[in-house]
């Protein structure tokens, strides 16, 4: 337990080291998630638009045909 505590204390610099890693993780995860949600949102929106326009069926379009 002692060695674990000393590991997490980072030689007294825990605040600096873990903050740097935490903010990096938060920003990268947020960026990936927001981008992913944005893409799914657009896919949905495009699908709805194409569904209300007659004559759109059967003309499969890039990036829209594949579902995620």
């Amino acid at each position: 337990m002692d060695s674990l505590a000393s590991y997490f204390s980072m030689g007294g610099y825990a605040g600096y080291v873990w903050s740097a890693y935490a903010i990096t993780a938060v920003v990268m995860v947020a960026l990936a998630l927001l981008t992913w949600r944005g893409l799914k949102g657009r896919e949905q929106e495009l699908k709805e638009l194409q569904d209300i326009i007659p004559g759109r069926r059967g003309r499969s379009h890039d990036g829209v045909a594949e579902k995620g």
């Binding site: 980072m10 030689g11 007294g12 610099y13 600096y16 080291v17 903050s19 740097a20 890693y21 903010i23 990096t24 920003v27 990268m28 960026l31 990936a32 981008t35 992913w36 944005g38 893409l39 657009r42 896919e43 929106e45 495009l46 638009l49 194409q50 326009i53 759109r56 003309r59 379009h61 890039d62 990036g63 829209v64 594949e66």
Partner: protein
């Protein structure tokens, strides 16, 4: 028609390679964290704070690589009017801005215990802050016009003009010998860094780059779809039954 075919081919290619770039990203960053946080030793001068390097330096690399990518795509977009290039430039800037932000914040968290200050108007730090503002300006210009084409053009000119800043960042530590330490890895000859520290640094560096590639591909796909949606809505507003509502022209 080649202009319209390219985005379609790009989308297909992107969705094929994306799972692989995502998997490689996770693997490399996982290995980088393992070696960086558990295996590599503390620095004899900087102690444990040296571990901040494994996120700080890769963030700086990606911040600059993303800018180069954005400037290159902007040039292609301006010269050849390739719609996909414009969308790549547009997609790269929020990612680049995020990594520049991370580089500045982690650098600050490293500077406080080691230099005794959160911030200094050192040449490297200042040029990195300018990079951050260039990204913000690029994103602002993109949305500053009613006509997205004009915004794209203005943003591309800013991206190209601002590219001078990239070599300034790179060589700032040699030209102005102020606070920030010189390069340890990307120098002529052998890297001036112990292999036990170089390994996690390179793993994280390539991992962050693959993360950039993965998110960039996702964002470009998003922008292609957004352009299509815009085109369909335009034809709806103008009520042109004969017009092709697929948005291929903007595809």
């Amino acid at each position: 028609m080649h202009r319209f075919a390219n985005p379609a081919r790009f989308l297909r290619l992107a969705s094929v390679i994306q799972p692989w770039t995502a998997a490689v990203t996770l693997l490399l960053i996982g290995a980088g964290l393992y070696f960086g946080l558990l295996v590599s030793p503390a620095d004899y001068q900087q102690g444990e704070t040296v571990r901040i390097m494994y996120v700080h330096v890769p963030a700086a690399w990606v911040a600059m690589a993303a800018y180069s990518c954005m400037a290159g795509a902007s040039a292609v977009g301006l010269i050849w009017k390739h719609p996909l290039a414009d969308l790549i430039a547009k997609s790269a800037s929020p990612i680049g801005a995020s990594f520049t932000f991370l580089c500045l914040v982690t650098g600050s968290l490293w500077g406080k215990p080691m230099w005794g200050t959160w911030w200094a108007w050192d040449a490297r730090l200042t040029s990195m802050l300018i990079l951050f503002f260039l990204y913000l300006g690029h994103m602002a210009l993109l949305n500053a016009f009613d006509d997205p084409g004009r915004g794209m053009k203005a943003a591309a000119i800013l991206a190209l003009a601002g590219f001078v800043n990239v070599p300034v960042i790179k060589f700032s530590v040699d030209w102005w010998n102020t606070l920030h330490q010189p390069a340890s890895v990307t120098r002529l000859g052998m890297p001036k860094i112990d292999p036990s520290m170089l390994l996690p640094l390179l793993l994280m560096g390539v991992g962050f780059t693959m993360f950039f590639v993965t998110v960039l591909l996702l964002r470009v796909r998003l922008e292609v779809l957004a352009a299509k949606i815009r085109a369909i809505r335009l034809t709806q507003i103008h009520g042109m039954p004969g017009a092709d509502p697929s948005g291929e022209a903007l595809g």
